[in-house]
Symmetry: C2
Subunit: 200 residues, 2 copies
DNA sequence: GATCGAATGTAGGCGTCGCCAACAATGCTG
DNA sequence: CAGCATTGTTGGCGACGCCTACATTCGATC
């Protein structure tokens, strides 16, 4: 679906979006290693230099891809977060959403976490990351306010939860954990994170 | 040092090792993106096709690099593990060693976790991963035996601790956590992991 | 110790890539 | 409708991975 053969007379209309869409498809199907500007141009039906008008560089396209990824991830997290829930189910739901995203967008997530500190692009990027991380921080902050979580530097608490979630996502993206196993284990994972591993 | 223009007697002697060494240096200094077989050949002083005799393909060289990385990481973990210690300091030491490796070998670690399941090379690789992960599993198993940790599927416990550690390593490798901050936070991190985030 | 095959290195070439510059078609704004 | 910025095209440059054919060296066998 979605291969409408409309006549694109010279000017494509929205080449930039088309390139990003094609890139994301290729990324998902063939991996980041098989992403080439020339091939994308061929898929979209423009000349091999056309992408250069919209992305100064291959890295610029990857950055745009990552940015879009943060957008989608942020929406998924927002949608999954119910501030009314008590801590444990709330965090579980959020974790499930994050891991779900990791499952459906393994390659993209890898790209999102690849550090390429382009001095300018990193502004938008940093903002996007901040917005994503902020979601988790909010949960922690709320929980602290309600006394559902120990006092202490929120930074530290964010770090533990963030690292654990991201580590799981990386395991999924790296293929050393099947999606089923990951989703099935979310509840236990969050439980262990909140209650600790030592006997009480 | 080490750039002696000796007359190469046609056969290099140990080209494979020289290539791996040069590759690791380049990896550390310029990143994986700047790794090219032709450039490596130039650095070592052989023709552009010589590497092909030792690595069927670029990916094969990357695999060898990753394998060597697991070797070094395994040694670092072994050296840092003191089975006589109680759980918390033992795990802290192990975590410190792992994060130290991540700090000193960020790019390499990324390579090690990149999934490229070459059907054959993955055997050695899987074994190396297993040996690395096994170190952590041993700590958990010992702790369970001693009653320092809750009962339950060891797999689950390994997953939480492994994910947390790996998440931290990824944060470091990704540059969103400074080495100092990471090392300084290890103790708190392990503490939170073991004692949980909920008030007792 | 000479011989011959296997291992290792060389030379050259093919197709692809990212990037750049020069040119052409289109859209926009006065 | 004139002029200019935007967007797409063509062609080319250098580098890359990989392949094949060929050269040199090593080592096992007689």
């Amino acid at each position: 679906m979605s291969h409408m053969p409309e006549s694109r007379p010279y000017h494509h209309g929205d080449l930039r979006a088309a390139l990003l869409a094609a890139a994301e498809r290729t990324l998902r199907e063939k991996g980041v290693g098989s992403l080439s500007l020339r091939e994308l141009a061929r898929e979209v039906g423009v000349s091999h230099a056309a992408p250069g008008r919209h992305f100064k560089d291959k890295q610029a396209l990857l950055n745009a891809l990552a940015l879009a990824g943060y957008e989608r991830l942020g929406q998924a997290l927002d949608a999954a977060d119910d501030p009314a829930l008590p801590l444990e189910p709330r965090l579980t739901a959020l974790a499930r959403a994050y891991l779900g995203f990791a499952i459906d967008n393994a390659e993209l997530l890898e790209l999102m976490y690849a550090r390429k500190h382009d001095p300018d692009a990193s502004e938008q990027m940093a903002a996007a990351v901040e917005r994503t991380v902020g979601n988790l921080a909010q949960v922690v902050a709320d929980a602290q306010k309600r006394g559902e979580i120990i006092a202490g530097d929120p930074e530290d608490l964010n770090l533990v939860t963030g690292a654990t979630l991201h580590g799981m996502a990386a395991f999924i993206a790296g293929g050393m954990l099947t999606p089923e196993a990951a989703l099935a284990g979310v509840e236990t994972l969050v439980h262990h994170l909140l209650h600790g591993l030592k006997p009480r």
